[in-house]
């Protein structure tokens, strides 16, 4: 594919620290290759800033291949930018036109306080995982794989849920700032498989109460999350979480 170049104006959020007051800053960028990724465009901008003696924009990234969940920002009002099922690192500049103004903001939510510029603290998601996103298995010698039977369609659904990379875009985009799609995906992934079923009920209750403690909102079934999720996770997993939580609250068997 032939690569051309575009000139753009980047309007980007600048915030010095968690308690500092932030504001937008404009930068005109020339000759950005449409073949470059969004993060590469930010790299180019940062290099130019550094050369001018200005502090570069801080942003999170790691794998740059859409699997780690580190990257993420809200681009022109959409978490991870305009392309469906695409992380910010996999977004390419060919999605933009010459002369475009691109507005870049950090993920915003009370549960995701800004650390600096575009970097937000998403450790709340780690705490939610610690509250129940695991299976307690005593390790021993592996048993024969065929001794645990899992129908193909169940395995498929569990794999769909397991595709969640924990980026937090669902909570950032949610009108109520609820990471329900994230929790729903984690709960589904484990509740669908035999190894995770034993702890399914307590897991749902513990993860949801951890979510509440971390200042997130309540799901209003707005469905924005499934529309921004870079892994295309469906709210059907939120429905499964709702069922697991009902069972966990009302039929504990304890």
């Amino acid at each position: 594919m032939s690569s051309k170049t575009i000139n753009i104006i980047v309007k980007i959020w600048r915030q010095n620290g968690p308690h500092a007051k932030g504001s937008f800053e404009d930068h005109a960028l020339k000759d950005i290759s449409t073949g470059s990724s969004f993060l590469e465009m930010l790299d180019v901008m940062n290099e130019a800033l550094a050369n001018k003696g200005i502090e570069p924009i801080a942003f999170d990234h790691d794998c740059r291949e859409g699997i780690c969940g580190m990257c993420g920002a809200v681009v022109n009002g959409t978490a991870h930018g305009p392309e469906k099922e695409t992380t910010l690192c996999q977004l390419h500049m060919r999605s933009f036109k010459d002369g475009d103004t691109i507005i870049i903001e950090p993920f915003r939510a009370t549960g995701f306080p800004v650390v600096k510029d575009l970097i937000v603290d998403r450790s709340a998601l780690d705490r939610i995982i610690q509250a129940g996103g695991f299976v307690s298995v005593n390790s021993g010698s592996p048993q024969d794989a065929n001794s645990i039977l899992i129908p193909q369609h169940i395995a498929e659904q569990a794999m769909d849920a397991a595709a969640c990379i924990g980026c937090g875009a669902c909570a950032a985009a949610c009108p109520n700032a609820a990471p329900m799609l994230f929790i729903g995906a984690k709960i589904s992934q484990l509740a669908l498989l035999p190894q995770g079923q034993h702890e399914a009920k307590t897991r749902a209750v513990n993860m949801v109460s951890c979510m509440d403690e971390n200042g997130f909102g309540n799901c209003g079934n707005e469905r924005v999350c499934e529309n921004v999720c870079p892994k295309g996770i469906s709210i059907r997993h939120i429905a499964r979480m709702n069922r697991e939580y009902l069972k966990g609250s009302f039929f504990r068997d304890e």
């Binding site: 903001e105 939510a109 009370t110 997130f216 909102g217 209003g220 499934e226 709210i235 009902l246 609250s249």
Partner: protein, 220 residues
């Protein structure tokens, strides 16, 4: 009991409360629609229906207290959720507000349509419930009088439209909250939930319009 309180206070618990009370209020609305349709058969039928309801005696106040409680639980929980969600969203709004998909008119306006319906129901109760009904001035006379006032005609039509918007999201949403979501049924569920809302509201609007065009329907 502590588990019960804990569940009710959690975010999901509050959603279950909204869903359950919403479902019960919807059920009441359905019965109310069916009952009110007797108006299409004229004054006698409508008055007879009202009379029949009142002859239930002690069950009437018991039912009313139950209904008011469900209603207030729905309203209070809804306001609590709204406040919590505003807080969770944080003071700094996004510079660009978009809808990447998913949100509907109904889902975006739940708290506002809810507040409007609240005011509408107060007006509605003042019109028909807390008024003196006598042998001479029956419920059908009152209904005809109120709905023939152009101001009230408008208020009732607006009230009904707003209610339709509220239910267009609410009915589907409560099913999702109870975990009823399966690709096999999702399309029919969406259609049925919209259709139920549309049918109920159409009946109410038709009643209002009927009384505007044909005053004699209830004067008989």
């Amino acid at each position: 009991m502590s588990w019960f309180i804990q569940t009710c206070r959690s975010s999901l618990g509050k959603k279950y409360i909204m869903a359950l009370t919403g479902f019960l209020l919807g059920g009441f609305l359905l019965v109310h629609t069916i009952g009110n349709s007797t108006i299409f058969w004229g004054r006698e039928a409508f008055n007879a229906y009202a009379h029949h309801l009142h002859s239930l005696g002690i069950f009437v106040p018991i039912f009313e207290i139950g209904l008011y409680s469900i209603f207030f639980i729905h309203v209070i929980t809804g306001v609590l959720l709204w406040l919590q969600n505003r807080k969770a969203r944080g003071p700094q709004k996004y510079e660009v507000q978009t809808n990447p998909g998913g949100r509907t008119w109904g889902s975006q306006t739940m708290i506002y349509t809810g507040a409007t319906i609240f005011v509408f129901i107060l007006i509605h109760l003042a019109n028909f419930h807390f008024v003196e009904k006598t042998e001479v001035l029956t419920i059908s006379d009152i209904v005809t009088k109120v709905l023939n006032n152009p101001g009230f005609t408008l208020i009732y039509i607006i009230g009904m439209s707003v209610l339709a918007l509220h239910i267009s999201h609410g009915f589907w949403s409560l099913l999702q909250t109870f975990g009823i979501n399966d690709p096999q049924y999702n399309a029919p569920i969406r259609v049925v939930t919209w259709a139920v809302a549309a049918i109920m509201i159409t009946v109410f609007v038709l009643i209002t319009l009927l009384l505007v065009v044909s005053q004699n329907q209830l004067l008989g």
